[in-house]
């Protein structure tokens, strides 16, 4: 069957099971957009390519499938860059398809010609420049395989305009053959035995549950492992939801804004079981004093993460789900009662300082509002966030029971991520309640996507936590720069009017007694809704491990008088 390159693009996407593409047309991808009309894939016209990239990212995280985003050459493609980097840092499988000027024009500074494969080389798992129609099918097949296998990540395909309009025989390759790319699944038995020996000896073990648990779909194996060995589970920011928050073995989030008892457990552990996580600096504090008494078993699909920050006594390179399945039958049962009791003692001491246990004082605290949304939604919503204070409070107080519901930019820390990723998630889970929690700063970065939400009827509820500050930077200036506030005081537009101008129903909430009603109203109103909460301006996220401090040196919330 002879087809045009542009048609081959869609033939391949259909075969890859793509349901929705988030994109923006332009000169260099017009043939692709023309061919699109004949195919059953839904296209979402975004308002800025960054929004499209985040939507594809949110879709991928909520569905566990590969997200797809498109843009034209030049500025269209460069607008994707932040979104690509965000997906890269969090290992999210997204395929980006960009148009490029015709192959014979490359290198000549043609209109809207930018070296996109060059720019995205360090922020993609892999990328391709396609100059001929007969390369398209094989490249797309490969791109999807590379994006979702091994350690997932974004893959970009830059397709020259001539390749889109030329015709060739369409053959969809049955298999992908890459001589240099073969992700390891199993870890060798001798190393598994060594790991089992360390687990046998351990009296104070802790599991560190990372994003890899969710990417590998190993939640069930994690549960079996934890229950069988009675090992408490601490989560990284992106590991939240992989283990139910209400489970007695759950410790909650670790790291810079992690729970006190969780960080103390890690610092006092004699065995760390790192599952699909990479010992980021936000998780470890200073490496010199990190988990000093613990042996470390590191199960990780990417060999480059092993020994990168923390030396692994037993490195198990492989697919987490596969390695855990191999290992669980080799394990004995343990109870670790003493260790668990010690941790609960730390937990009850820390709980006394929790803002959730403060008496009502009429002010709006973000932590309380997250608790309110959690209660109203029964803890089952998909929650996306921007980056900063509200992100940490959401991580701390929106207690997740299941995976693929927590969508946040962890590694890259991308502001403006919340709204578009929520829209993307909606396409993956249209029956589910979806909340985008944003700060007043981040929301303004991608607020234009409100119109996209309206055009698509995306049922996302946006909660803007407006403190008229860039809150996290303000907090750091308060703690570490003698309260010299520099460029953090932010005038905001009238968010209610702004939302209404986009055709989005909106309410402003300024006092405690309006909260429940507003949240209920938002939940019941179909389609996108914006709630602006005027929150306490100079609240800070606690606990906090200052950058460069040891993990147990936490600043805690002052006890209220």
């Amino acid at each position: 069957m002879k087809l045009k390159g542009a048609e081959i693009v869609w033939e391949c996407l259909v075969r890859e099971g793509v349901e929705v593409v988030f994109g923006y047309p332009g000169g260099a991808n017009m043939p692709i957009y023309d061919a699109m009309l004949n195919y059953p894939i839904h296209h979402v016209l975004v308002r800025h390519e960054q929004g499209g990239a985040h939507m594809a990212d949110g879709y991928a995280r909520a569905s566990g499938k590969v997200g797809v985003s498109m843009a034209t050459s030049g500025p269209g493609a460069t607008n994707l860059v932040t979104g690509i980097a965000t997906a890269m840092m969090d290992s999210v499988p997204v395929v980006f398809i960009t148009g490029q000027v015709a192959a014979h024009l490359i290198g000549g500074d043609a209109f809207q010609e930018i070296d996109v494969t060059g720019i995205t080389l360090p922020i993609t798992k892999h990328n391709y420049l396609v100059t001929r129609a007969d390369e398209i099918a094989e490249t797309i097949r490969e791109a999807f395989y590379v994006a979702k296998s091994g350690r997932p990540g974004p893959v970009l395909i830059d397709i020259c305009k001539n390749a889109q309009v030329e015709s060739c025989e369409f053959i969809y390759p049955a298999e992908v053959e890459l001589s240099g790319y073969k992700p390891v699944m199993h870890s060798p038995r001798p190393l598994l035995d060594e790991a089992v020996k360390l687990i046998e000896k351990a009296k104070r073990p802790v599991i560190l549950c990372g994003h890899g648990v969710i990417m590998s779909k190993a939640e069930e194996e994690l549960m079996q492992f934890a229950v069988k060995t009675q090992t408490p589970v601490a989560n990284t920011l992106l590991g939240l939801g992989a283990f139910p928050a209400s489970h007695e073995l759950n410790l909650g989030m670790m790291g810079m804004h992690g729970e006190v008892h969780t960080n103390l457990a890690i610092q006092n552990a004699d065995l760390i079981l790192a599952f699909g996580m990479r010992f980021d600096d936000r998780v470890t504090g200073t490496l010199k004093t990190y988990a000093p008494k613990a042996k470390k078993i590191h199960i990780e699909i990417d060999p480059a993460e092993v020994h990168k920050n923390v030396f692994a006594d037993v490195p198990l390179v492989g697919d987490l789900k596969t390695v855990l399945r191999d290992m669980i039958p080799l394990l004995d049962e343990y109870d670790h009662d003493e260790w668990k009791q010690e941790i609960s003692k730390w937990r009850s001491e820390a709980d006394a300082r929790s803002i959730m246990n403060w008496p009502e004082d009429g002010k709006l605290y973000v932590a309380h509002l997250i608790g309110d949304i959690w209660k109203a939604s029964g803890g089952g919503a998909i929650v996306t966030t921007d980056v900063g204070q509200h992100q940490m409070w959401t991580a701390q107080y929106y207690q997740l029971e299941a995976p693929n519901r927590w969508i946040t930019s962890g590694g890259a820390g991308t502001m403006g991520f919340g709204l578009p990723s929520a829209i993307g998630a909606w396409f993956a889970a249209k029956d589910q309640e979806i909340w985008a929690v944003a700060g007043d700063g981040g929301f303004q970065m991608t607020a234009a996507e409100l119109t996209t939400a309206v055009q698509e009827g995306a049922n996302v509820k946006v909660a803007i936590m407006n403190n008229n500050f860039l809150g996290m930077v303000r907090q750091w200036q308060e703690f570490f720069f003698e309260k010299r506030y520099s460029a953090v005081n932010m005038r905001t537009p009238d968010f209610v009017k702004l939302a209404e101008a986009h055709g989005v129903p909106a309410r402003r909430v300024t006092s405690r007694d309006e909260v429940d009603d507003a949240i209920e109203w938002a939940r019941k109103t179909p389609g996108p809704v914006v709630l602006e909460f005027k929150v306490e301006q100079e609240d800070a996220v606690y606990p906090m491990v200052p950058a460069g401090a040891a993990l147990h040196e936490m600043l805690q919330r002052p006890v209220k008088q």
Binding site: H126, V146, S179, G180, A304, V306, H307, F311, P315, V317
Partner: protein, 186 residues
């Protein structure tokens, strides 16, 4: 300390850029990089000499990161393996007829060749290990070096030996090496 890696990659456009860009991104200094075709037209072979200040820890990091590149097929560390190592240099020496015999004599000692003679210069071609070439350069410098070009080091292990492969999942991976890293981690 300088480490020598033999890296086999797919012979595709842009792969050299991916490899060199990786060294920059991960903050390594390349001392030399030679790339060329092999007995297999689909495979290119690189010999890369890199400064690894933290020894095997860096070597491990580098290998692991090279494997993250989809086009990289095989990585071997041949630093401590018995291997044949060669570098080729062309050196243009400023010399008139009166001292030409002196340069000729030096070339003989180093088994180098004079490959071009002009009225006031000659080009010396020398092949050998890094040390040998450095030795020759030292002796030619006082006479007057006008220009020099070097290919960069290429290496091949002797006999049936392979280099060290530290990455699990690759052919003949050596887990012992990973275990030894314990004492060396910074």
């Amino acid at each position: 300390m300088n480490y020598t890696f033999i890296v086999k990659v797919e012979n595709k456009p842009g792969v050299l850029n991916r490899v060199s860009s990786l060294f920059r991104r991960r903050n390594f200094n390349i001392e030399s990089l030679a790339v060329g075709r092999t007995e297999n037209p689909d495979v290119s072979r690189m010999t890369i000499v890199v400064d690894c200040p933290n020894g095997d820890v860096d070597a491990h990091k580098l290998e692991a990161n090279l494997y993250k590149l989809v086009n990289v097929i095989d990585v071997q560390d041949v630093t401590r393996q018995p291997s044949v190592t060669r570098d080729l240099a062309l050196i243009k020496v400023k010399v008139g007829p009166e001292r030409r015999a002196e340069v000729n004599g030096l070339a003989d000692i180093f088994r180098a060749h004079i490959v071009d003679v002009a009225p006031d210069s000659v080009i010396v071609e020398i092949t050998g290990t890094e040390d040998k070439i450095e030795g020759m350069i030292e002796l030619l410098r006082p006479i007057g070096i006008m220009e020099m070009v070097r290919t960069g080091q290429i290496s091949m292990t002797r006999g049936a030996l392979d280099g060290v492969r530290r990455m699990p999942g690759t052919v003949g991976s050596r887990y012992d090496d990973i275990m030894d890293l314990a004492e060396m981690m910074p």
